[in-house]
């Protein structure tokens, strides 16, 4: 059964130096607040997994929390480059990071295998691309019925997966709707999981397109209103596109990035205090 914890307590308990973590959310429901808390607690040597390491992982990488990144697309969507990610890969700043690179289809198959208790997933993928030569976790496999050659990728089973969702009840059952991405799979594939939510309610009423992740497959539920910002939570907030644009300027330069992290993350105590510090309202 999930425990209802503060985000500080949940990160302290489940994310350790050297942990393999996955933080998912596909444009929608990105767990930014949780990312900040990991930086605040100065975790190091994380193997960070995420299909789209956008702003949330740019912050973790730039802050020096990450020693290995597994991903399939690293950019600031609709804006441009991910400067901290690029600086790490191109110039080893703040230190060298190892990368394990896949396609979206491959990452999705890896999470599904992880959630299904299988050691690998099968797909038609990567054929003819140069990714095959750079990534040891892509192999061929033959169909035992047709002898056709397909691609195998290993399951992802993070130590802890972290997602943001709309709400939970007091028993820790999590309700999530809108674009679901690969979040449910990332939670089901993980050894432990943390879910930040907009709201904790007495009773979850059905929502069209909504699914419930039962409490007994979740480790911790943390109330963090607007905790996906500048991403959004359908039914609660809108995407803060201008924040994504402004990130480009903040992250472009090492000094301005370091200053920003110092002032707004290390210098704040939690997400509310972060929000006041950067001047966003708790609810958009």
């Amino acid at each position: 059964m999930a425990e209802i914890l503060s985000l500080k307590e949940a990160i302290a308990r489940f994310v350790k130096d050297g942990s393999t973590i996955a933080m998912e959310g596909f444009t929608h429901l990105i767990p930014h607040a949780a990312g900040h808390e990991i930086i605040r607690q100065s975790r190091r040597n994380l193997h960070a997994i995420r299909m789209t390491p956008d702003m949330v992982y740019d912050q973790l990488i730039g802050a020096g929390c990450v020693s290995k990144l597994t991903f399939s697309w690293g950019g600031n969507p609709g804006v441009g480059s991910l400067h901290r990610f690029r600086d790490a890969v191109e110039n080893n700043w703040p230190h060298q990071i190892e990368i394990e690179e896949h396609s979206h289809a491959g990452m999705a198959a890896r999470y599904v295998a992880g959630a299904s208790g299988l050691p690998f997933g099968v797909l038609r993928g990567y054929v003819g691309t140069d990714l095959v030569d750079q990534t040891s976790s892509i192999k061929t496999i033959s169909c035992p019925f047709t002898n056709e050659e397909l691609t195998a990728v290993p399951a992802i089973n993070p130590d802890v997966s972290i997602i943001h969702a709309q709400r939970a009840d007091r028993e820790g059952n999590v309700q999530i709707w809108g674009l679901l991405g690969v979040q449910r799979e990332s939670v089901l594939a993980a050894k432990a999981s943390i879910v930040t939510v907009e709201e904790i309610v007495d009773k979850l009423t059905p929502v069209s397109g909504g699914v419930v992740i039962p409490s007994w497959v979740v480790s911790a539920v943390c109330l963090v209103s607007n905790g996906a910002h500048p991403s959004y939570a359908s039914g609660y907030s809108e995407r803060d596109n201008s924040f994504y644009k402004s990130w480009d300027d903040i992250a472009k330069d090492r000094e301005s990035f370091v200053e920003w992290v110092k002032n707004h993350i290390l210098g704040t105590t939690d997400f509310d205090s972060f929000s006041r510090s950067v001047g966003i309202s708790a609810l958009v």
């Binding site: 596909f26 609709g78 038609r124 809108g178 991405g181 799979e185």
Partner: protein, 281 residues
């Protein structure tokens, strides 16, 4: 052999859309090159939808704008599919991100990301995929991973995303990219998405199921693969663009099709629909 006029898939496709040049307005001729690319892509989608083949896997940016423009201009409409899990999206404004709430709210069906890639793309249900990238080579291969070496890149790009499997599996791929010597290269530094590989027969040898890149829409015109050599050939130029310009802006020894055509002028209807869409956003 240079691609002849009859071999141009694009010209055949565009026939139903052909309009008398007198209907072109002056304002339409003053649209940006981005808009010109969008209108051309929308025309292709309109023709494909008319033939019943326009389940379209769309990325954000020009492709999404083009696909939505086609939805407003043509009937039957193309079916818009976004990798965020939206099937049959009918946004009233242009989405700002691939996970824009507007896409989910206006979809026939919203599915998980694993399902989009397995039940929909991999299963061969996607007729048209749109791709772009930092480099395109003469055989339609695309690089969106690194400039320079992989180990010590000059420029680290975002990476693959959904592109490799779209390139492999979609019925046909439409590439939208600005035509420059830096981007249109003889050979990509990194092959992120497979076009025709090293040339004729390569896709078949690898067992790829999709048709590969059928058309490249640029700010200068349109390139299409020569059916014999698989090499991209300039088959269309926008009004005022010269063959020399195309050659100069291409990093390989570009060939111009025998009967290269000039892009049909953008119509008032097209430009108005595009402006409406853009102003609603």
């Amino acid at each position: 052999m240079i691609l002849s006029a009859d071999q141009s898939a694009f010209r055949l496709w565009c026939k139903p859309m052909a309009i008398a040049s007198t209907s072109a307005s002056t304002s339409a001729n003053q649209i940006s090159t981005d808009d010109l690319m969008i209108v051309n892509a929308a025309r292709v989608l309109g023709t494909l939808a008319a033939a019943g083949n326009a389940a379209c896997f769309v990325g954000i940016g020009l492709p999404s704008t083009a696909a939505n423009l086609a939805r407003h201009l043509y009937s039957p409409e193309p079916v818009l599919i976004y990798e965020s899990g939206c099937i049959g999206s009918k946004p009233t404004r242009l989405p700002l991100s691939i996970g824009d709430g507007e896409l989910a709210d206006t979809s026939d069906s919203v599915v998980s990301v694993p399902e989009i890639f397995s039940y929909w793309l991999q299963a061969g249900r996607i007729d048209v995929g749109f791709l772009g990238g930092a480099q395109l080579d003469k055989f339609g291969n695309i690089n969106s991973t690194v400039i320079g070496s992989y180990e010590k890149p000059k420029t680290r790009l975002p990476g693959a995303g959904g592109a490799p499997e779209i390139a492999a599996t979609a019925g046909q791929v439409i590439v939208i990219m600005r035509q420059t010597k830096r981007a249109f290269v003889d050979r990509c530094d990194f092959r992120t998405s497979f076009g025709f590989g090293d040339g004729p027969g390569h896709r078949e040898r690898l067992g790829l199921r999709g048709g590969g890149p059928k058309i490249v829409i640029t700010d200068l015109g349109v390139l299409e693969p020569d059916p014999q050599t698989c090499e991209l050939v300039q088959t269309q130029m926008h009004l005022g663009v010269t063959a020399e310009q195309c050659v100069e802006n291409t990093g390989w020894k570009l060939r111009i099709a025998e009967n290269v055509i000039t892009t049909e002028a953008v119509t008032d209807r097209e430009v108005n629909a595009l402006r409406e869409l853009q102003s609603a956003t």
